[in-house]
């Protein structure tokens, strides 16, 4: 199980019928919802198979980006 972004890239907001279908999918939990997207928890193969049958939708895994920092950092501590 992982967390995935389902994004509707077609014209307008997400089709209600698609949203209903996603919500009704077994072993899938909707974590968040917005105009064009849904954040879900499910198996990757399951997501891939489902989205392949839904025109206008794309999916990608949830990832994180770290806050930028330009300060130099030590890689290791010195020897005695």
């Amino acid at each position: 199980m992982g967390r995935y972004i389902l994004r509707f890239t077609g014209t307008g907001p997400k089709p209600a019928s698609d949203v209903e279908r996603i919500r009704a999918t077994p072993k899938l939990t909707v974590l968040d919802d917005s105009t064009h997207m849904m954040l879900v928890e499910a198996g990757e193969k399951h997501i891939e198979k489902m989205i392949a049958t839904m025109p206008g939708w794309s999916w990608s895994p949830e990832r994180t980006i770290r806050l930028p920092d330009s300060r130099p950092k030590p890689r290791r501590t010195p020897k005695d």
Binding site: M37, L67, P78
Partner: protein
């Protein structure tokens, strides 16, 4: 046939792989059509509108569709300025996923690093302790061997440097706020060592104020700017119109600073309304400022979902400019899709190139539909013993006091450069000096807001691709090359 020494890119319209029939009068469509030739035919082009730019067409899918071209990296910036709505995707080859070989990393044992040195950090003005400062000490800077820690309420930090009186090649001190950071080189320290920091003066002419002296309280009026970041703190110099927290599981109305201060500093560079010496003024104080918090409470990481949702929200809220002072080495489809959506709805995304010290431009700055900003600085716009002197590096500009920051990423995707070394701005509970392409990005966004503010003919266009393209073009046309070269500065500094 002449050699271009270039790299291969796939040239695509803003969305999809082919311009829709209704869009064939757009400049992008005309450009794609100009490149339409018989499949397999290789032809060298020179574009009259952008003298000196050459590309070689290698293949064309169809009249208004994808083209494969070869173009020199130095010419890529000019092509992007000429056609700001094109997507330029580097040609990629996929390889079998071979498992990496194992390697050994050197590790210091706990015993070796057990000896600690106590350093004390104080104010040069009155000797009072400076709490919460990050102290980074290097015994070997090239190998990045050293230790770091934060000062306590007494201004003291204990560092495991392997000796009671180690010789340091470099000692960096980063106060949280209200002081200039310090850099000391080649000094021997002991537990009696005390380092004094210079207190910030808000009237100081830093690199931002050096290049943008003409900013007025009305600069940026009529422009709405969305800051996608760590949130923006309440501050006497900042007026926030609204926003949203898009972090999953958090209250969406909590779009104030998450405790990290980064977004508050970014916001001040764009829109601070203070007046020195009591406060600071940003690039475009009259903009309507909105905060989209994508970093969780106290967290220094943001999910691609939160970022994507924040961009969508900023577009739906009518933001003309969206500032992304964040980045990653990994390309993300969801964020790309949101940036495409922003451009298709007339909004312009401006992104930081990244701080990985001359590495390739980070994503999403590397994405063709965002404007990528590198960081530059100027000698004489920071006190001599500060960390900023460690960021002075070649190339220098036509004016030899100007330089591209040592930490800045560079590459053919760079569109603009802006001040990002030793920038004074708002911070939760005061003011702080920070460095980074994170600071250069809002400097460029603020400059863009000031340029676009009087351009009512552009702002009045329907919120569609033609609007964002015209805005991008207007901003890029106002850039002036400083002599660094296009890989470092793109079209230059927006003036």
């Amino acid at each position: 046939m002449a050699e271009l020494g270039g790299k291969q890119f796939i040239v695509l319209p803003m969305q999809g792989i082919r311009m829709p029939a209704v869009s064939t009068e757009l400049a992008t469509a005309r450009f794609l059509r100009k490149l339409a030739v018989r499949p397999g035919l290789v032809r060298l082009f020179r574009m009259n509108a952008t003298p000196g730019v050459e590309l070689r067409l290698l293949d064309s899918v169809n009249e208004y569709g994808a083209k494969l071209v070869e173009i020199a990296p130095a010419a890529l910036s000019a092509l992007r300025a000429h056609q700001p709505s094109l997507r330029l995707v580097p040609l990629a080859f996929f390889h079998p996923a071979v498992a990496p070989r194992l390697h050994v990393e050197t590790k210091a044992t706990a015993a070796k690093a057990a000896v600690k040195v106590r350093l004390r950090i104080v104010s040069r003005t009155d000797g009072t302790p400076v709490a919460g400062a990050l102290v980074v000490a290097f015994t070997d800077f090239g190998e990045r061997i050293g230790a770091q820690g934060w000062t306590d309420a007494r201004g003291e930090v204990k560092l495991a440097l392997g000796s009671a009186s180690p010789k340091l090649q470099r000692l960096y001190i980063y106060p949280e706020k209200d002081f200039w950071p310090a850099l000391k080189k080649n000094l021997t320290v002991s537990s009696d060592t005390s380092i004094a920091l210079i207190r910030l003066s808000l009237g100081y002419v830093d690199c931002l104020r050096y290049f943008y002296r003409a900013t007025t309280p009305k600069s940026g009026k009529g422009i709405k700017v969305g800051v996608v970041d760590t949130g923006i703190a309440e501050h006497p110099d900042l007026e926030i119109d609204g926003g949203e927290n898009t972090v999953v599981g958090e209250d969406k109305t909590e779009f104030r600073d998450n405790g990290k201060g980064h977004g508050t500093h970014v916001a001040g560079i764009i829109a601070a309304r203070g007046q020195p010496p009591a406060g600071v003024r940003g690039m475009a104080p009259a903009v309507t400022l909105r905060s989209y918090r994508v970093f969780g409470k106290g967290s220094d990481s943001a999910s691609n979902y939160a970022i994507t949702k924040a961009i969508d929200r900023a577009v739906e809220d009518g933001c003309d400019l969206i500032n992304l002072s964040l980045g990653s080495s990994e390309v993300d489809e969801a964020i790309e899709s949101a940036i495409q959506y922003a451009r298709s709805r007339g909004s312009l995304v401006i992104a930081a190139a990244g701080n990985d010290r001359r590495q390739p431009v980070s994503f999403p700055a590397s994405y063709s539909l965002s404007l990528a900003v590198s960081a530059m600085g100027r000698k004489g716009t920071f006190p001599s013993a500060t960390t900023q002197r460690g960021e002075v590096a070649s190339p220098y500009g036509t004016d030899k006091k100007n330089f591209v920051a040592a930490f800045s990423n560079i590459g053919p995707e760079i569109d603009l450069t802006a001040p990002g070394v030793g920038v004074i701005s708002t911070y939760p509970g005061g003011y702080a000096v920070l460095d980074g392409t994170s600071m250069a990005c809002p400097a460029a966004a603020g400059a863009a807001a000031a340029i676009l503010s009087p351009r009512v003919e552009l702002l009045g266009l329907p919120r569609a691709s033609a609007r964002s393209e015209a805005m991008a073009r207007a901003v890029l046309e106002q850039a002036q090359a400083l002599g660094f070269g296009s890989l470092y500065e793109g079209q230059g500094l927006v003036r």
